[in-house]
């Protein structure tokens, strides 16, 4: 699965932040360094490159950043409903019908809801080392 070069964003931001030595952003204890990267991907991953993604780039990132939708999941109805809401309340222009269909198809295919039940397991980044982690030998501490 090919993805858009987000690393470019990181590089550009790193460059623009680089001159801020001694700023608040630079002050971090060792355990915060990872979380402190101001433009990590937030855990949402990159925009999936697939048919329709070029239309999403073209139509959906002028007003808000891509994380606005990368972190969301929805059916075709949900995604189309969001477009209608942005058009009604937030000044989004009408889309050509075929373009809108392709955008909705793309989002529903690659950002579809999954049934999470009433409570998920804790996120991987909140988990301790696992002595029984799959793929590790018996007795390993997992890290």
């Amino acid at each position: 699965m090919r993805q858009y070069p987000w690393s470019l964003a990181t590089m550009l931001l790193a460059a623009s932040c680089g001159g801020a030595a001694g700023s608040e952003l630079e002050v971090a204890t060792a355990d915060e360094v990872v979380a402190d990267a101001p433009m990590d991907d937030g855990g949402f991953g990159d925009l999936v490159t697939a048919p329709g993604s070029e239309l999403v780039v073209q139509h959906c990132i002028a007003c808000h950043g891509p994380r606005q939708f990368l972190q969301q999941r929805g059916s075709r109805d949900t995604w189309r409903g969001l477009i209608r809401w942005m058009q009604r309340d937030h000044g989004m222009p009408q889309l050509d019908e075929a373009v809108e269909d392709r955008i909705v198809d793309y989002l529903a295919a690659h950002y579809a809801p999954e049934d999470a039940g009433r409570r998920r397991a804790l996120a991987p980044d909140l988990m301790p080392p696992n002595p029984y982690a799959p793929g590790l030998g018996a007795g390993s501490t997992g890290r």
């Binding site: 470019l8 700023s23 990590d40 937030g42 073209q58 950043g65 809801p113 409570r119 301790p128």
Partner: protein
């Protein structure tokens, strides 16, 4: 630019100067989280970021650890002239519309300081299934700094409020994502009763310093215990209304939940939605950090905060065996009304293995936190399910 992505970005002229669209990132400020440390960025345009639970361990939330939630773009620091900042007070139910400079507010009215909890109504949204649209907050859109300001009540009394006043609404200097100056990104408020409470402040300082830019500098409303969206930032205008305020994000489904419980995934018409007022009882485990390794058999302190919108926390219980047994935690009184309360407990993990520490707070009306995600609602608000952290016990 167009060559890089093969087609022009529609409405690319709305992109703030300096943003590189292909990077799909950036914002109005090259350091969009200036003054913040350790926050997880949910969105960079508009900037939204939450605080990991273990970084909320302080009794009083430091400015660097307070979450950032925006519906629009904050004003640029360079565009804020504190000496010229004014607050306009108007609306149908004000007897005398007035405009105060920031200096006048500070001189004419007594200053008060309270520690007040503010929590985004969508904190915890990421756990709802089917998923709700909007920023997918986990647990970190909450904080409890010490705010200093003048009472909204004192200012309203000076202007005079008619008896038929129903609601107070706010307007701020943030701008709509579309760039349309005719649109407000957000303009919410509270009923008169909440507006006139002692603790409802027009705040100009946090923890003894100017407000951070991202949290409303130089002036904001603070309505502790209610959805943080009622605490308008970059405050320029207060209106006293003869009806429920109808500004941006007051109507439709925004900051509303169904007036009666609904099954997950229901389509609820707007007229059956009601405005969220006080936030529900909730707690966090802020120590240890989830993922820690603890010594088997030894005694360990676990601690955190508990809060509830308009009331007080009576008890916190902690479980290390998935809710099979619970032990009572010690709960400190709040420093003042509407502040979160510190809780502490000592746990022992009897043998090596994987444990989760669950915390469950109970308020002064006997309401406590559910173990699973509470009632589904279309916009994913008010998830006050118990907080869980995971630890490994190792000999």
């Amino acid at each position: 630019m167009a060559a890089a992505i093969g087609a022009p970005i529609v409405f690319g002229d709305r992109l703030p100067a300096g943003v590189v669209p292909l990077a799909l990132s950036g914002g109005q400020d090259p350091r969009p989280l200036a003054g913040k440390r350790g926050l997880r960025v949910l969105n960079d345009r508009p900037i939204n970021a939450e605080t990991p639970a273990h970084l909320l361990d302080d009794d009083v939330t430091p400015a660097a650890r307070l979450f950032v939630r925006n519906n629009g773009h904050p004003p640029a620091l360079a565009d804020i002239d504190v000496a010229k900042w004014t607050l306009e007070v108007g609306g149908e139910c004000v007897r005398e519309a007035r405009t105060f400079s920031l200096a006048e507010l500070k001189e004419r009215f007594a200053s008060h300081t309270y520690q007040l909890t503010i929590e985004c109504a969508g904190n915890g949204r990421s756990e709802f299934s089917p998923p709700a649209t909007g920023h997918q907050w986990t647990t970190g859109a909450v904080g409890c700094p010490r705010w200093t300001g003048v009472r909204l009540r004192d200012v309203l009394e000076e202007c005079g409020v008619r008896d038929d006043a129903v609601y107070v609404g706010y307007y701020g200097a943030d701008t709509h994502l579309s760039g349309d100056p005719g649109k407000d990104p957000i303009s919410r408020g509270v009923p008169m009763q909440k507006a006139l409470e002692d603790e409802t402040l027009l705040a100009f300082a946090m923890n003894g310093e100017d407000l951070p830019l991202l949290n409303g500098h130089p002036l904001r409303l603070v309505c502790g215990g209610w959805p943080a969206s009622t605490s308008g930032k970059w405050l320029q205008k207060i209106v006293v209304r003869d009806r429920v305020h109808d500004g941006a994000k007051m109507t439709g489904k925004a900051y509303r939940v169904p007036e009666r419980p609904v099954a997950p995934g229901s389509k609820v018409p707007d007229e059956d939605m009601r405005i969220i007022e006080a936030m529900p009882v909730k707690s966090l485990v802020t120590f240890p950090k989830s993922g820690a390794t603890l010594e088997t058999g030894a005694e360990h302190e676990v601690r955190g905060h508990a809060w509830v919108g308009d009331g007080r926390i009576d008890a916190v219980h902690v479980s290390v065996d998935f809710g099979s047994t619970w032990q009572v935690a010690a709960v400190e009184p709040p420093p003042n009304r509407l502040a979160w309360q510190r809780w502490r407990a000592r746990i022992r993990l009897p043998k090596d293995g994987y444990y989760e520490v669950w915390a469950r707070a109970t308020d002064d009306q006997g309401r406590s936190q559910p173990m699973v995600v509470p009632g589904w609602n279309p916009k994913g608000y008010l998830n006050n399910a118990c907080h869980r952290i995971a630890v490994l016990a190792q000999s």
